[in-house]
Amino acid sequence: MQRAVPYLVLALFIGALVVALVPLPRAWSDTGGDLETKLGLDLIGGLRGEYQVVATDNQPVTPEILEQTRTIIENRVNATGVAEPIVVTQGADRISVELPGVEDEADIRSLIGTTGVLEFMPVPPELQGTVGEGPLPEGMQDIEPLFTGIEIASAAISQDQNTRQLVVDLQLKDTGARLFDEYAADHYGEQFAIVLDNQIMSAPAIRATRFGGRAQISGGTGGFKPSEAQSLVTVLKFGSLPLEIREVGFSSISATLGLDFLHQTMLAGIVGIALVFGFMLLYYRVPGMVACIALIFYSIFAYALFRLFGVTLTLAGIAAFILSVGMAVDANILIFERTKEELRSGKNLTAAVEAGFGRAWTSIFDSNVSTLITATILFYFGSSVVKGFALVLGIGVVLSMFTAIVLSRMMLRWVVQQRWARQRHLFGIDDSEISLDARSRPREASGV
């Protein structure tokens, strides 16, 4: 087991190098596209789409509705995992959507999804029993809806307790709940229709006279297939724009900062990391060398993981990545300091290195777990921007722990076995620093 570790690390390293450098097709993911480094709007630009919220006769576009629409669109874009979009309101009734690295208008369109309003419509008596999913039939075009998707509080898939079939749970807000109860009281057993963009998405029959805002839509005799239930939930949750929106136009948008800034920041990063390397080599000598190798490993591995997870790198993301290299060295420093301390107390090299790892472990573990707790909270409760940050933070912490505890340890263990390395000054310790009683036993202390 112990012997396999170096090979495992080597295999991982080669794997990471391949992922980091070669544009691989992303075969396993259904989003398609090659495995490549995603850059943000600030670095490579993208495509900008502009939408107009269309007022109706009895509903003008208020700032609240505009902001509500913006939030829904932002959520829709974020739900697909495209990171770092910019969705802002413009003027009194516009919303502009910018997506990094996109050239095709269809990409924005598919992310924005439907532009219509979700409506809950009564089905007239003459059409009862005939209405199903599909285009809105003749005779229903002019019917006033009961209420629109604004009244949906939440929608989720669940399982019916009796039939074990998949159902969709629907929760309505106060006004919607009241309107629906009023309607249900008079129309028990009749169908009503959930309509989006003149398409009936679902036409369930009403099986109660009082709902109190909670309804359950079941998929008929056969029940919903998981995909059907999911798409209905998506429609109910994200189909509910308060007002219809209309495409105004698309334009390409260049990077706000551009690749010059990327190069400048990368140069700064190289300078910074070189300073750290220089410091480590001067101050810790041989272990410093080990730390530098571990850091190079960390950088390549982290970069590979960013590509795997499709993390969008903005300029700030790159700066944070450079900073994470400076942070990844922390665990190494704690270990080496502890090793030095153990050497000073008179332990021989092998014992000091082992003690260094053993004793430093608790503080490394406790501090990194506290960061992981933060990352987890941010990931589960944060919105998209915060989520992306949490992912990068989490990757960085786990990886830096791995490189320090596994990689640095492996290399140091090997180093202390080498004849040339068995000199304390190579570990940054002068003989004068060793405690007196230890110095009286020089042979044992030097580990020879």
Binding site: Q90, L257, Q264, G269, A319, V329, E341, T362, V385
Partner: protein
């Protein structure tokens, strides 16, 4: 041995000064109408978006940004957009005074025509409705050019009719344009008058370009440098990228994370005083960092940009690291030197770990200073926030978290020492009562 912990009073005083000053400046932000405190960038406040076409070719965004800086509009964003084979310069900046009316198409077009008529000398030479016609046949998209509305696909008819209806006004333009000419570079006028002939413009160098107020100054400065603006694609207000909701959410998340870290540290060290002390230090770091930005914002105008939220999250992610290193050593030494006074143990632990606390921070400071000095302007506030946070984090682990933990313990111990005596006297009183 150094007596670090004995000097903890100085630490308390310095921290109190930092935190109070910081809080004063942070709270100054909320004074209505005041200019003090945190200066939020357009990412938080929204602003104005302006998308224009330059007749003499698209300028370099960096150069445009330099002009914006000169105009006292730092933190603006400049990008090149392209639609229908035409390049525009998109400028997002803080809200500018003088907004062109953005109402119905007809009236907006009329306003444009009026602005054009009054602003451009060449417009007087060419009848406006004539100039619109050739464009329509040449390239339909260009015929919409004068519309200041954000509508790029406006129908050409209302524009033409609006222009036509305004023609009577055009006859008085020569005087008006002479009085309030927005084309400061005289050499560009001949070019401008050539434009309709070449078919590249819409009849004049200036169409709906503001002439008054701060916006007008900006337009003038840009045209002086890069030539005339011959098309305004949009001129509009723009909402914030970082919504108030996101800021609120981040604030809530920081509180949640702090609570979770407190529970974790209390659990791992079997001492809730350590958990609470670590969190107090973390909050100290956050206040100091935000406070530094509030102070710098007040005096230098340094803005809080969208990345500030990220910087704060990074700081809370790493602030407790140094504290945990010290606490870990206290935990170890408490077991090793059982029975020794806590004050000695804590000081010994601090002396033992101060070297690595400083070293681990030094590596971060090295990378951050390199980014600050050599990195781009755009990430400078972000880097600065992190730098302040890292330094504050190291300081607070030594001079806030650890002393706080010690004093709290000492106080509790003293109370414990008093308690048996108190209990005794109580029981005595009881027996005497009986």
């Amino acid at each position: 041995m150094f007596d670090i912990i004995g000097k903890r009073r100085y630490g308390y005083v310095i921290s109190a000064i930092l935190v109070v000053t910081g809080l004063v400046f942070i709270l100054a932000t909320f004074i209505p109408g005041g200019a003090a405190g945190l200066q939020f960038s357009i990412a938080y406040t929204g602003g104005t978006v302006w998308e224009v076409h330059f007749q003499d070719g698209t300028p370099d965004p960096v150069a445009v940004r330099a002009v914006l800086d000169e105009q006292g509009l730092p933190g603006s964003e400049v990008a090149i957009t392209g639609a229908d084979n035409r390049e525009f310069v998109l400028i997002r900046t803080e809200a500018l005074s003088l907004q062109a009316p953005e109402i119905a198409e007809g009236s907006a077009a009329a306003a444009v025509a009026a602005a054009r008529a009054s602003a451009s000398p060449s417009a007087s030479g060419v009848a406006p409705n004539e100039s619109a016609a050739p464009n329509e046949s040449a390239a339909p998209n260009e015929s919409v050019a004068p519309a200041v509305t954000t509508e790029p696909v406006a129908s050409t008819e209302p524009v033409a009719s609006a222009v036509a209806s305004i023609t009577p006004d055009a006859s008085i333009t020569p005087d008006a344009s002479a009085a309030a000419s927005t084309t400061p570079d005289p050499s560009s006028s001949p070019d401008a008058s050539m434009a309709p002939v070449a078919g590249s413009g819409d009849g004049g160098p200036v169409a709906g370009v503001p002439t008054a107020g701060q916006f007008g100054e900006l337009a003038t400065a840009l045209q002086q440098k890069f030539g005339n603006i011959d098309e305004v694609r949009q001129q509009n207000s723009v909402g914030p990228v970082v919504s108030a909701e996101l800021v609120q959410q981040t604030f809530l998340l920081i509180l949640m994370a702090a609570a979770a870290i407190m529970i974790w540290v209390s659990y791992r060290f079997r001492d809730f005083r350590m958990g609470v002390s670590a969190i107090v230090a973390l909050i100290h770091d956050v206040i100091v960092t935000v406070g530094v930005f509030a102070i710098l914002g007040t005096f230098t105008g340094l803005q809080v940009d969208a990345l500030f939220v990220t910087a704060m999250l990074t700081i809370i992610g790493f602030s407790v690291h140094d504290t945990i290193v010290v606490f870990d050593r206290i935990r170890e030494n408490r077991q090793r030197y059982l029975g020794e006074p806590l004050e000695l143990i804590v000081n010994h632990s601090l002396v033992q770990t101060i070297g690595r606390s400083l070293t681990t921070s030094l590596t971060l400071v090295l990378t951050l200073v390199a980014l600050l000095v050599f990195g781009g302007e755009a990430i400078r506030p972000f880097t600065l926030a992190l730098l302040v946070g890292v330094v504050a984090g190291t300081y607070s682990s030594l001079f806030v978290a650890t002393p706080l933990f010690l004093d709290w313990h000492l106080r509790a111990d003293r109370r414990k020492a008093d308690e048996p005596a108190a209990a005794k006297s109580k029981s005595k009183a009881k027996t005497s009562a009986a």
